[in-house]
Each structure stands twice: as structure tokens, then as C-alpha cells.
Symmetry: C2
Subunit: 251 residues, 2 copies
């Protein structure tokens, strides 16, 4: 579940861009004076908040597929944790005098579309989706944290710190594959589809939201670099592939 | 939302039965030495826990009907609160070395049946159900609290203290009735149906679970008194009728 620790050329580039912008050294009061940075953070918090709310709804829905009460409770627990993240993120938006609904609205259709296209057809698909979603969210939070002012970063890291409720899914999925290896093939395809749909919706968002996209690749001072966005997606995809292999779901 | 404060003949009877049994003066260690009392509390915690889990699922489901993001978040917030109650109740079951799933299982079918028969067909029906369910649960918790040992009572009151998330529903329902008075007639019928189905499932549970039913009417020492169960249901129904009238939903 860890992103690779070895410094890569990408990490070095990341390091440079951080030095250039220096947002990470500033707090919210200072950095939000730049209206483009402010708009990017409002976008980010809105996207994350809607993502948490949508995840809450889908996990609560998937809980119905649980074969046993304890499994149902485990999925409901993850859903409730997502809702707590939603509360923190929308609370922060209100703190900075932004309307949470207005901040979330631009991201609703991409997230709804993702969930519509990836409705699990059974309990195991639901588990894999919960695990993959939790892990990708954690990777993304970690990627974006370094681009943020100290106040916003503290919030994002606090929300990140509280993920990982999905680890119980690993055990269940492994046991199911052991019992019937054909399950592994089906779930590997499913995990690939999840990642594909996630990337395709993420690319829609990147294309639509300039301020957010620019910030994601190294701060507003550097301008929007599509190649760097691509590298971020590659790192996340690579981490996903490693996790899937560890789970016995090699592509 | 308050139960009537004036002492009624029922309240006096309640007072007497409390004096007789004295469970309220004892703590869990002392009172659980009686296996019938212990069985009754395990039943109670199991029934409440499953009730909270089922409420979580249905509220999360109803959140989909919300006309606006803020409404969706409000219903999701109630769902998450129910899940926190679930965690406390099942946590307590584990503390007293009981398996939560086994304790919940006897109540699953009655609660599932209740929700199956009362699936809201629109947002307003969902709101009325959330409000009615929250209030009836609070009334029931208050009724049962006086029968319990000090430790179990503290838990039940703590969970009760955290309800009332449904008050936002009152405002929305009132506004909808004002805008279209015919809505009031439809929702009044709906609220009656909710109460009817709740009572019918509760009566099933009473018939099936002797130890629980006996405790609900004044402690195991007094034996099972069906008339007293009836009076408890009457008090809860009366409080419900008053609340509905206050909401503009007179029958």
C-alpha cells in the first residue's frame, strides 16, 4: 500500500517545482492572497468532499451485498469514515467562507459517472472497489499534499491518516481467490476497469478545471503542465498495479 | 418531541415496578448475575444494534432521493450518527463477551420486514420516516432506560443523547405542506402507516422474546405482563400522534 520510496526522476522534478513555488512553506492566509491558488484549493476541497460523499453512498449501498452481519458492519464502518472526511472537508470550506455545495457541484457529474459505470455486481467486486478506491485516494492525497499551503496540507494529511479501513478487504479477497482461483481472473479484470474509469473521469476533470490542474502539477507559478499531470497519473497507476499484484490480482 | 411530563397512572405504575425490582439501583456486575436479566439485556442491545445498522442503511439509501446536495449531506449525517450508535452498542456486547452478530440475528427479520414495508417513495416520505423513526427510537430508549442497571442505562442514555439529528426534517416537511396542503394528507397517511408497521413488528418481537419483553415491563422479578407492554406502546403512540399534529400531520 506504500508508494515507492526510491527517488525517481519524477520525484526530483517534483522537488524542484516545490522549491520554485514555495507554497508549501506558506500558510493559508498568505497563499490564499493569490486568487488562482485560492480557486484551486476550493476546487480541490470541493472535489475531495464530493468524492467522500459519493463514496459514502456507494459503500453504504454495497453493504447490502455483504454475506454476513460482520461484513456488512465493516463496509458500513468504511462508509461512516468517508462521511467524517466529508464533514471535515466541507467544514473547512465553510471556514474559508465558501459554499460547500457550490464548490462540490463542478465535480458531481464526473464522480457520479464513475460510480454509475463501476457498480459492483457482487460482494467481492464491492470489496475490491472499496480497497482500490481507498488506496488510490490515499495516493492522490499524498501526491497533492506537497503542493499545498501548511493549513490545507494539515487537513488533507489528517483525512489521509484516517483511511486504511479497507485492509480487511485484502484478507477476504485473498481467501476467495484461494478457494476458487478463477475468481482472481475476474477480479483482476474488474480492478483494471476501476482504474481505467477512474483515470478517464480524472482526465475529464483535469481538462475542465484549469486552476486545480495547474496546482496539482507544481503550483500556479509554473503554469499548467499536461505532461506532469500524466506523470502523476502514472505514479498512481503504478502503485495500483503493485497493490493488485500483492493481492493476487496480477493483470 | 418531549414525552408528557404530567404524572399519569401509568407513570405511577412504572414508579412502583422500579421500586420492586431495584435493578436500576444495581450495576451490571451485580444485576447480570441473574441469567434472565443478562439474556434480556443481550437481546435489548442486539435489537438496538441491528435497528441502528438497518437505519443506517435505509437513511443512506434515502439520501439518494435528496433534491439538493445539502439535503443529501443532512441525511448522510443522520446515517453516520446511527452507525456510531451501532458501534457503541456492539462494542458493549463485545465487552460483556457476547457475539454482536449472534445477539442481533433474532431481530434481523422483523427490522428488515419493517423497512421493506416502509420504503419511502419520495424525498418527503423519507424525511418523515427519518423524523418519526428518530423520535420513536428516542421515546423507546427513554422508556427502557428506567428498567436497566446503571451501566447499561448510561450507555442507552448516551446513545439517546446523540439523537435529534432529524429536526431539520420538520422544517422541510412544514414548508412542503405550506406550499401544497394536499401533501399534508398524503404524509399523514404515511406517518400512520409507519407507526402501524413499527407496532406490528414490535409485537412480533415481544411475542418471540420472553426475557426481553419481561424486562421491558418492569424487571424480571415481576414476570411478563402483556397489559403493561400494551401501555408502553400506547404511550409511544400517543407521543407520536402529538408530534405529527405539531408537524401539521393530524390524522
Amino acid at each position: 500500500m506504500e508508494t515507492p520510496k526510491t527517488p525517481s526522476p519524477d520525484a526530483a522534478a517534483e522537488e524542484r517545482s516545490r522549491e520554485v513555488t514555495g507554497v508549501a512553506a506558506a500558510d493559508w492566509a498568505e497563499s490564499s492572497a493569490d486568487p488562482r491558488y485560492r480557486a484551486a484549493v476550493v476546487d480541490l476541497l470541493g472535489a475531495l468532499a464530493y468524492g467522500e460523499l459519493a463514496a459514502f453512498e456507494r459503500l453504504a449501498d454495497d453493504a447490502k451485498l455483504a454475506p454476513a452481519l460482520a461484513d456488512k458492519a465493516a463496509l458500513a464502518r468504511m462508509a461512516a469514515a468517508e462521511f467524517q472526511h466529508f464533514e471535515r472537508l466541507t467544514g473547512r470550506l465553510r471556514e474559508i467562507d465558501e459554499d460547500p455545495a457550490a464548490a462540490m457541484e463542478p465535480f458531481a457529474s464526473a464522480l457520479e459517472e464513475f460510480h454509475r459505470l463501476t457498480a459492483p455486481s457482487d460482494w467481492l467486486e464491492g470489496l475490491v472497489k472499496a480497497y482500490v478506491g481507498d488506496a488510490i485516494a490515499a495516493d492522490f492525497y499524498r501526491e497533492v499534499a506537497v503542493r499545498l499551503d501548511s493549513d490545507t496540507r494539515a487537513l488533507v494529511l489528517a483525512v489521509l491518516d484516517d483511511t486504511g479501513h479497507a485492509s480487511f478487504a485484502v484478507e477476504k479477497v485473498r481467501a476467495a481467490i484461494e478457494a476458487d482461483p478463477r475468481v482472481g481472473g475476474r477480479l483482476a479484470l474488474w480492478a483494471r476497469r476501476l482504474m481505467g474509469e477512474a483515470l478517464s473521469q480524472a482526465q475529464r476533470v483535469v481538462a475542465d478545471r484549469d486552476a486545480l490542474s495547474t496546482m496539482l502539477v507544481g503550483g500556479v507559478a509554473d503554469g499548467f503542465d499536461l505532461a506532469e499531470i500524466g506523470r502523476m497519473f502514472s505514479r498512481i497507476t503504478e502503485a495500483h498495479t503493485k497493490r493488485m499484484a500483492a493481492l493476487g490480482l496480477s493483470a
